[in-house]
């Protein structure tokens, strides 16, 4: 079985963000980068399928600059077999349609049986790339999956709906699955696996080598939201703040 996992590298969401010089996105310098949380579930699910079927090869793919190789190395240490970087310095300029088109162009040549992506990225949150990719490849797409099983012929998956309700869907391969939080428990790479991963290849494809398409959305600006700032902010020494907070709660609520 040939499996593809698409991952994105995103900044730590607790970062102090700055807007970049063009006013279009966040400034990338001085950020700590990691694998998009949703994609960690995608990697783990791919590795679990490989463990189940035995004969499988997992390719992990990421679109982005040099630094995304770090994210891919972690995926390799978690059990992916090879990496493909679509090398591109400014993926943030491209919309979901462009990103999905680039991946689809690569994936169409490889005929993967199963593709996992996260349901969305933590920074853009568009929830489009996985679905577009599947539609471009003409494969069924199962989105927002929180439970996955493969019985040798078909996938059965649970899609998460609002209020914790689930929708159960089934499809044969090839298929694309977009992974939602809680699908599984992503493993930590062990030291021996980190060492082994160093020998695994990461191929780099310059983005110019893929035909590419025009995007359909342009970012006009990125800014901080207007702070309504109606609430009170307490800063200082914990014991003092605890006293202050209790005073406020006694005054404003009747629960104490």
């Amino acid at each position: 079985m040939k499996i593809l996992v698409c991952i994105k590298q995103v900044p730590d969401m607790e970062s102090k963000f700055k807007i970049n010089g063009e006013g279009l996105w966040y400034e990338e310098a001085n950020l700590a980068w990691r694998i998009n949380e949703y994609d960690e579930y995608a990697i783990e699910q791919a590795v679990q399928v490989k463990e189940q079927v035995g004969e499988a090869e997992i390719t992990v793919l990421s679109v982005g600059p040099e630094r995304v190789r770090e994210a891919m190395k972690k995926a390799l240490a978690m059990g992916c077999d090879r990496g493909v970087q679509i090398a591109c310095d400014d993926p943030w300029r491209r919309d979901s349609f462009e990103i999905a088109s680039l991946i689809a162009e690569y994936a169409a040549k490889e005929s993967f049986d199963l593709i996992f992506t996260g349901m969305q990225s933590q920074d853009r949150g568009s929830a489009q790339v996985g679905t577009l990719l599947g539609e471009m490849l003409g494969a069924p797409v199962l989105t927002t999956v929180v439970d996955f099983s493969w019985d040798g012929t078909k996938i059965t998956a649970r899609r998460e709906l609002e209020g914790g309700m689930k929708g159960v869907v089934r499809t044969p391969l090839p298929a694309v699955v977009t992974c939602q939080l809680g699908l599984n428990t992503p493993r930590y790479p062990t030291l021996p696996n980190i060492m082994k991963a160093k020998k695994k290849e990461i191929v780099s494809l310059p983005v110019a080598d893929l035909a590419g398409v025009e995007g359909r959305l342009a970012t006009e600006k990125t800014a901080f939201p207007e702070k309504k700032g109606s609430g009170l902010v307490l800063e200082g020494e914990p014991r003092e703040m605890a006293g202050q907070l209790l005073g406020i709660l006694r005054l404003k609520t009747k629960v104490l």
């Binding site: 963000f17 929830a127 199962l142 089934r170 703040m241 907070l245």
Partner: protein
Amino acid sequence: MKALLVAECRGGEFLESSYELAGFAAALGAESVMFCMGGDAPPAFAGTLYQADAAVCGEFNPALHKALLLQVIDREKPDLVVFCHSSYGWDLAPRLALALKAGQVSEVVALAEGGYVVPACNSKLRRTVRPSTALTVVTLQSGAFPPLKEEGAAPPIISLAPPATEGGMEFLGYEAAEIGEVDLSRAEVIVSAGRGIGKKENISLIADLARAMGGELGASRPVVDAGWAPHDRQVGSTGQAVSPKLYMACGISGAVQHLMGMKKSDFIVAINSDRDAPIGEVADVLVVADLKEFVPALIAQLQV
């Protein structure tokens, strides 16, 4: 401008969130028509409603629903197709956008002179985007636009015949949410633990605070996903909706899906080490502190 609003139904019932689509169209000053797969009672809506039989077409069948929508679009020639940013909407919208060669904007929270404002980085940033295509598909963040219910008679309905589309995916039905023992919706005080507690052992710290406050323990999703708290403690769009007199969010960033479950609380206190955490936008009091230091200090003072 004309908008096609894609309303939602579950088990024959029209979902309230669909009225937000009409509110959005009103904010744009757009004329609108609506599509809904099934639905026993037609919504209060002052335009034409296109409907197909859910018993025949299935409540979830992306390929077939896409084909039906394409029929409506061919007839109505809208400029905009509007979905809720929901499990149904984000699943179907990109499929439709691709078929229409349309740009798609996800999770719109506001309008800005022809552009759409969407959140980025867990709502720490706002991005304004503009589609370059004539026809655009958008999904709306839940709660961002006020619902609009129109007075008067039921809308005229045009029934759609099911197209001959298969789509390769079988829908096997719904499963109800797991029912737990705790009904957080009735609690007067809820103290919730977020990923900021750092590790499983620290859940007891938050549980102690909940007890000292005479309330119930709640949790954000990652805490539940990690197995640190049971699912019936989860607050949010895929957990429980709560409205206590006091909600204390400890180490919770304030993602929109969490806010959806708790922003109706009377009084909100957030304890967070990040002064810029989005939870600060809904909190009546934001305590900027490491919860491992602040929570014990608070418990100590509650006990004197």
